[in-house]
């Protein structure tokens, strides 16, 4: 006899509660994730037609939206759309840099929090790290803008200390943007790392030390391999969210630097060309997923590990 799916789940939760829970999960998956994405996919292959022509003879599938991203024009394929492609590449590279920056910044902190003996102190520190995130993302970006502004806190401090003779334009130099992006999702890197490092048996570190291992060797051979799933999980989230961020680039980005999501936003909002915007969004989604999968392959991380 074929085994009923979720048979045990139903036995444990009863038919009513079981159906309700599975129904809710199904609703979430289908209506909140799957259908919106599918409709985006559908949009991206259609022409931007006036309402009267929808469903008419002109309403057919097309690759023109994708061709626009590549060539900048629907008709000729003479030259590449360097403006948009540059923004795309820059966004991906910048998101990778932000991710690496977060790994480097969070690893020592996560190690300290996870292995510190005075657990009370570590808990307090975690709370202090969380509190700023009670404030809305946009407000935090504005706060950073104030700090990095021409007459902002940082410039004032640098001038006061005579480290700079005139205000540095952190906004135009994209320093504010990178700082803002790094800061926006840093907890998503910290917590997965902290969780895995905390679960590392301290005796393993002592055993390695007892056998003569240097500090570097202990981290390279014991701590980092153990923390790999957490690092992978944090990196995936930070990379995906940074590449898809809108608020921070909008508020902290310099006048000349565009983030790819801003292009998507413009297509949807300013040009009212949802079809074109959807194509851009799909390209970003597929590329980031491909990049994440490639990195997972390189660093030998399993999909199951990321969920840990």
């Amino acid at each position: 006899m074929k085994k009923m799916p979720f048979a045990e789940f139903f036995r444990n939760n009863g038919p009513v509660m079981g159906s309700l829970l599975i129904g809710l999960v199904g609703f979430w998956l289908i209506f909140l994730i799957l259908l919106p994405q599918l409709s985006m996919l559908d949009y991206s292959f259609r022409f931007n037609l006036p309402p009267a022509e929808l469903g008419g003879p002109k309403d057919v599938y097309t690759l023109s939206n994708y061709e626009h991203l590549l060539y900048g024009s629907d008709e000729t394929k003479q030259s590449f759309n360097t403006v948009d492609l540059k923004v795309f590449v820059r966004t991906i590279i910048a998101a990778i840099i932000v991710t690496i920056f977060n790994i480097v910044l969070c690893y020592p902190l996560a190690y300290f929090l996870g292995q510190a003996k005075g657990a009370g102190m570590a808990r307090l520190l975690v709370v202090l790290l969380i509190i700023p995130y009670w404030i809305n993302e946009i407000l935090r970006a504005f706060a950073l803008r104030i700090i990095f502004g021409e007459t902002g806190l940082l410039n004032e401090a640098l001038m006061f200390l005579h480290l700079a003779s005139e205000p540095i334009d952190f906004i135009r130099q994209d320093v504010a943007l990178y700082a803002g992006l790094g800061y926006a999702y840093i907890l998503l890197m910290l917590f997965p790392m902290y969780n895995v490092i905390e679960s590392l048996d301290r005796n393993q570190i002592e055993a390695a030390r007892d056998m003569g291992a240097s500090w570097l060797h202990i981290h390279r051979r014991i701590v980092i391999p153990h923390a790999k799933p957490g690092i992978a999980s944090g990196s995936t989230m930070v990379f995906m969210l940074s590449a898809g961020a809108l608020a921070a680039p909008q508020i902290l980005g310099g006048p000349s630097s565009l983030w790819f999501t801003q292009l998507v936003y413009q297509w949807f909002n300013d040009s009212l060309n949802w079809q074109q915007g959807a194509a851009y969004a799909i390209v970003l989604l597929v590329s980031t997923i491909a990049i994440v999968l490639t990195f997972m392959k390189i660093f030998k991380v399993n999909m199951g590990d990321i969920g840990k």
Partner: protein
């Protein structure tokens, strides 16, 4: 073969804030000795081990290994190897990488490491298991891998922190024998931490019994059992019946103690306390359950006779434990070897128990092990 390196602890005191974990410990461990620290949990024995391995510095006193002062020398620079209670094998490395980790640290080539690991795997009777992960091994096999890993660096002293406590009884007994054999084969000094007196007595050349940071006695297992230095040692190591009372008279190596509930009884003064007892002192006398026997002449009285009623009996396999109630409700335990089928139960009978005065020890009253 090395002859082993001596470890000396000189006036070691270790404090954590206001708490004194170890107080003025003096221990001289001979090279090549199998030496155990035995005591209940929280007595400071692990703290001593950590001071020897270098994970903590004593607040006062010196640790000498092979006559060299170890002050300021970190655990990675000491000629010791530590086996942790939970073994602390590296789960993401293969068995052979685990074993050869100390060589990896020293920069040995993979080929050299593999060769040494295979030799050690042969020694611990796990040939060909090098490519497995620790999680694929049984409890006893992991145990042996941990030993091999510790021995790989050719340490002068091997430190073991209750490594057998996670194993089941049969395996634990087997590993005791095996550990002892390995120690004899490699000839280095073993320092073993345990709360299990069976482990300490069977494996060790010498045992230090600890209580609340203080070493009560250092002696061979035999002496610890037969000539306990303090009431704590007498009650912690093995089982014992304690009789409280006052010293009535002293004659050479023996004393008569006027017990609170069981009349006047005679016992040997324990060697460590000769000269420390005077007439009228509060004292404790200890008689082991197996030292009692049913007296040939029932109903008589004497200074090595105790009358009691057998109230309960437990079958232990190789022996019976008989629980008796003496005068004034005094509880006494007697152990009777199981010699076969024709034994008559004593349950419910009033009995006169007899012991050989040389098998009973008396000492100044003091703190007993809890339970």
């Amino acid at each position: 073969m090395s002859s082993g390196v001596a470890v000396d602890l000189e006036n070691i005191t270790i404090r954590f804030g206001d708490f004194t974990a170890v107080k003025d410990a003096n221990v001289n461990i001979k090279g090549g000795d199998f030496f155990s620290f035995l005591g209940p949990s929280g007595c400071g024995k692990t703290t001593i081990l950590r001071a020897v391995s270098g994970f903590l510095e004593p607040s006062e006193g010196r640790v000498l290994i092979g006559g060299n002062d170890m002050a300021g020398i970190g655990p990675n620079k000491r000629p010791t190897a530590l086996i942790f209670q939970n073994l602390a094998l590296f789960p993401l490395m293969t068995v052979w990488e685990n074993i050869a980790f100390s060589m990896e640290v020293a920069g040995a080539s993979a080929k050299e490491r593999r060769k040494r690991a295979d030799e050690l795997l042969d020694m611990i009777a796990l040939p060909g298991q090098g490519d497995k992960l620790p999680s694929e091994l049984s409890g006893g096999q992991k145990q042996r891998v941990a030993i091999a890993r510790a021995l790989c660096a050719n340490p002068d002293v091997l430190l073991l922190d209750e490594p057998l406590s996670a194993l089941d009884l049969k395996l634990r007994q087997h590993m005791r024998t095996e550990l002892r054999e390995i120690q004899k084969r490699v000839g280095i000094t073993f320092i073993y931490i345990t709360h299990d007196q069976g482990e300490a007595l069977t494996m060790s050349d010498n045992v230090a019994v600890m209580k609340a940071g203080i070493i009560d006695q250092i002696a061979s297992g035999h002496e610890i059992y037969d000539d306990p230095a303090t009431p704590f040692v007498a009650s912690f190591v093995g089982e014992n019946n304690v009789f409280r009372g006052k010293i009535k008279s002293i004659d050479g190596g023996h004393a008569i103690i006027s017990t609170n509930r069981s009349g006047d009884l005679v016992a040997r003064i324990t060697p460590a306390q000769v000269g420390n007892l005077a007439v009228g002192d509060e004292a404790m006398m200890f008689v082991r359950p197996e030292a009692f026997e049913v007296a040939p002449e029932q109903g008589s009285t004497g200074q090595n006779l105790v009358s009691a009623k057998a109230v309960n009996e437990e079958f232990e396999g190789n022996s019976f434990s008989v629980f008796l109630e003496g005068d004034g409700g005094k509880l006494i335990k007697m152990s009777v070897p199981n010699l076969g089928q024709d034994r008559i139960s004593t349950q419910g009978h009033d009995l006169t128990l007899r012991y050989e005065p040389s098998n009973a020890v008396v000492m100044p009253a003091g703190e007993l092990a809890s339970e």
